[in-house]
Subunit: 226 residues, 2 copies
């Protein structure tokens, strides 16, 4: 086979809904290049492990977060994306509930934190572009399958779901229209429990109807919030 000096890495985009915002899990790099910069967790694939194992291992090592499943996002391979050597990154993404994970930096990471997508620091390498791709994937998903089950608490306010959609779509949505459409899919169960938030009237909690949610996730629907 021809000589080829390209390395293969994996990077993880882990989104979580936290403090009423969509967050992404970042590490502060402990090593050059981009030492002390924030970056997506990730690293080189070890020779005999699968790509899925590699990304789950790197995520666990650098952030202490374990996930059951990561979806492959995209492979980034511009020749100069790493100053050391040509490195191709095969990226994966997952949606988690931040409060279920205790984050802790280790190995190549000197720090780990959740960052609001709207208040991101400068990122190492082409990680800003990777994050952009992950946001687009999430935006796409939202138009043809329900979203929120992996991100929201088991019981949530309708306003949380609404906010999640607005953040992902990056625009204001017509609240009345949104409520009508979402309810028409029968994926939500309104509970007989209320919570108070700020100065508003107590609002009902909702939870997903798992059966209907996963049926629609499998079959697809069209959610066209303009």
């Amino acid at each position: 086979m021809i000589r080829q000096n390209i390395k293969v890495a994996v990077d993880a985009v882990v989104f979580g809904y936290k403090d009423k915002s969509l967050n992404v899990l970042l590490i502060k790099r402990n090593i050059d290049p981009f030492k002390d910069s924030w970056a997506l967790p990730g690293g080189l694939v070890v020779e005999n492990e699968s790509l899925e194992h590699a990304v789950e291992r790197e995520l666990k090592e650098e952030t202490n977060v374990t996930v059951d499943y990561m979806e492959q996002l995209y492979s980034f391979g511009t020749p100069d994306r790493d100053p050391r050597n040509r490195v191709i990154s095969i990226t994966y993404f997952a949606l988690v509930k931040p409060e279920h994970h205790k984050i802790k930096a280790d190995t190549d990471a000197k720090d780990v934190a959740w960052f609001d997508l709207q208040k991101l620091p400068e990122l190492a390498f082409d990680h800003k572009m990777i994050l952009q791709k992950a946001k687009e994937r999430l935006q796409n998903k939202l138009t043809y399958e329900p979203i929120g089950f992996d991100l929201l608490e088991d019981k949530f306010l309708f306003s949380d779901l609404e906010r999640l959609y607005m953040i992902i779509l990056e625009k204001q949505i017509d609240r009345r229209n949104f409520r009508k459409k979402i309810l028409s899919f029968d994926i939500l169960e309104e509970l007989d429990e209320k919570v108070s938030e700020g100065r508003g009237r107590p609002a009902n909690l909702f939870r997903f109807n798992k059966k209907q949610y996963f049926t629609l996730k499998r079959e697809g629907f069209l959610f066209d919030i303009k």
Copy 2:
């Protein structure tokens, strides 16, 4: 950086509609391993080229087919997928009109041909799995965007579009319901030209309304043929 002996390849899944069937472009390998087996066109990435350039170059070299754009499909990286060395394949796919391309084998290919997806030979490596992934992508696309513009002749019979959908969905569809739904999207223009096929009455030719087609491709729709 850690020592790592993984090579990076690209492979191309090129679909075309030909002889009333969905076809895929395959090459017969000229080299070991899997010499004389049919396989997807592809090969190792040269150090300083982009992944997109690599896949378009390999496709052109081995089959003489040039495409304007290939969409990244998925990256396959099971450690033992190549008996020589660990090779990760970043795969791409394209839809073409076979009659617009003159195929010709060269370099690592001793032959090249279009194969009906329903009459495939044994394939080298994990290429059957790659093809399966490409079919799934096509099936998914078809549920949320129009398809056919890149595959069918400029003027086509309604039955060709219907057949294309049935082949991709791998099932019979209710023809009346299909016709009603497709026409409701306003992506088709019925022409004042008829052709005869077999023993049936002459049937009208159609073409896509490009403006409406590409608007819907961008915005998405839900096409739920059960």
